[in-house]
Symmetry: C2
Subunit: 307 residues, 2 copies
């Protein structure tokens, strides 16, 4: 059976994409090399996870994405409802039951004859669904990630708002090379005041004396982060959202990371220091297991129609 | 007659491009939506100007581009000599006598089966030649640009090195919207210490009591900036490269901007204040005219073989 687009379910198992109104295989999905979305990183995006054939917190992602676009004065033709449909259609065309689903809004290029200014561009959407991505591999999640605090400071909030999801990753990429050079799996960046912000694509949590702590600034307001706060409430684990000093992270009892593309991901080392018994700690493990159990039960799920 | 590529001169007058080893029309030149060059703005670039059928300071641009790639640990397959050939071939295929010629190096994507880390990506080049671009239109150059100092601070040098040409333009784009909202043509950004850095795609110069001053930090080491310093030396105009406070810029006798895509571009207003008689000042005009006269005479020129 075919759907509104006239294309068969699962025709693009390596991934299906939507570029400015047209559905294509992800292998053909491309953006002009002259587009300011690329040449000026003038774009925002969001990533929704699909697990067991259902989106997780789809409406929360679409709401955040719309806020990000408004902040950057980006206005694509699609409504929020159309965005939800585009994302579902990408998943349907891929046929994937577990997928990483991204949606970007790009500035575009100045219209012919108009001044070279972002106000004169036609903004548009690019979206794609590809097989599920683990930001931290499952193997590393089992032993706990080895983290390091990078010397490169996170780009300041005054210059680039981290709550507007963006591709300004030069600092995070430098941090990843720092991690690579010292044999760590991943990095965490501080701001110029020495406060913990985030890592490349994830929020950071420390567990200190039974309390879960996560930074209140300098980081994306992650949807998985929000889910962690809900789980803490449900499990009656004390939780604080507040400034977090680097020393506090280094001396934490447990550390875990949170992201759409991986859920709750425990760490076992930071800057060479071994946490607990060099494996995921008990509270991190409880949160992670509860998270996936609830996901399997349909928590915040929006079922995808694959017909 | 056809050239080594077998393609005829001037077949793509809207622009010719080179993407990862292949020549195409610029209208077809695209990069994968999943490429980290776009999704993490993990790329560097350079822009060379072609005027009267010749590159300006080609070797200086290629040298800077190679330095930028090394800093970011990007290593495409092409040698410096091959990069020069690619750029010349793009211009030849466009047939353009005046062109804006860009060359990017993108991170690419992690190779199949390897960890999602920038070390595991195949870096590649994208280049294109399109009709000449004026960052400040000729009309605005004649009356002098109306500038404003943006509230948005430039991304700190500690997070992103501004001497490595990059697409982290979110702060500059915000500055452009600030300029638009107050009716100015363009913006200049300060660092968090209140020192002048640069604007979207150009270096900044103030003339104070007959001395030309340009910031020594927080900005790209522009090739046109270097040419201005050479011209000052030749014309025996005193010149200083040092920290520049915002107040000094606001109270300058003259201001001008410098970029590949426009040369030396005088301003006539800053933050609403009128400079001189509301038109390009005498020293800015002298420098601008000398610059273009010397360009016409073949200064630092590398002739392009259009056969």
């Amino acid at each position: 059976m075919t759907a509104p687009s006239g294309l068969t379910v699962g025709i693009w198992p390596t991934g299906a994409a939507y570029i400015n109104g047209r559905y294509v295989s992800v292998d053909e999905a491309a953006i002009p090399v002259t587009d300011w979305g690329y040449r000026r990183s003038d774009a925002t995006y969001d990533v929704v996870g699909v697990w067991n054939g259902a989106f997780f917190r789809l409406d929360d992602h679409v709401r955040r994405f719309r806020n990000s676009m408004c902040e950057l004065r980006l206005a694509p033709p699609e409504s929020d409802e159309e965005i939800r449909q585009v994302l579902a259609e990408c998943v349907r065309l891929s046929g994937l039951r577990e997928a990483y689903v991204a949606v970007d809004c790009l500035r575009g290029k100045p219209k012919l004859g108009l001044a070279r200014h972002p106000v004169n561009c036609s903004n548009y959407l690019a979206a794609f669904a590809i097989p599920w991505v683990w930001v931290v591999s499952q193997e590393v999640q089992r032993r706990g990630a080895h983290l390091m605090i990078a010397k490169t400071p996170r780009i300041s909030e005054a210059s680039i708002d981290p709550t507007v999801k963006n591709f300004h990753w030069g600092d995070l990429t430098r941090g990843l090379f720092e991690a690579h050079d010292c044999g760590a799996d991943n990095c965490i960046l501080l701001d110029t005041d020495g406060l913990v912000t985030e890592g490349p694509g994830f929020n950071v949590f420390a567990i200190v004396g039974g309390t879960v702590v996560t930074p209140d600034r300098g980081a994306l307001e992650g949807i998985t982060r929000m889910s962690v706060l809900e789980l803490c409430n449900e499990l009656e684990i004390p939780c604080e959202v507040r400034p977090m000093r680097a020393a506090e992270l280094r001396e934490a009892d447990e550390i875990f990371l949170a992201t759409t593309a991986g859920g709750i991901m425990p760490a076992s080392r930071i800057d060479g220091r071994i946490l607990g018994n060099d494996s995921p700690g008990p509270l991190s493990t409880l949160l992670r297991e509860t998270f996936w159990t609830k996901r399997a039960e349909g928590w915040h799920a929006t079922q995808i129609d694959y017909r």
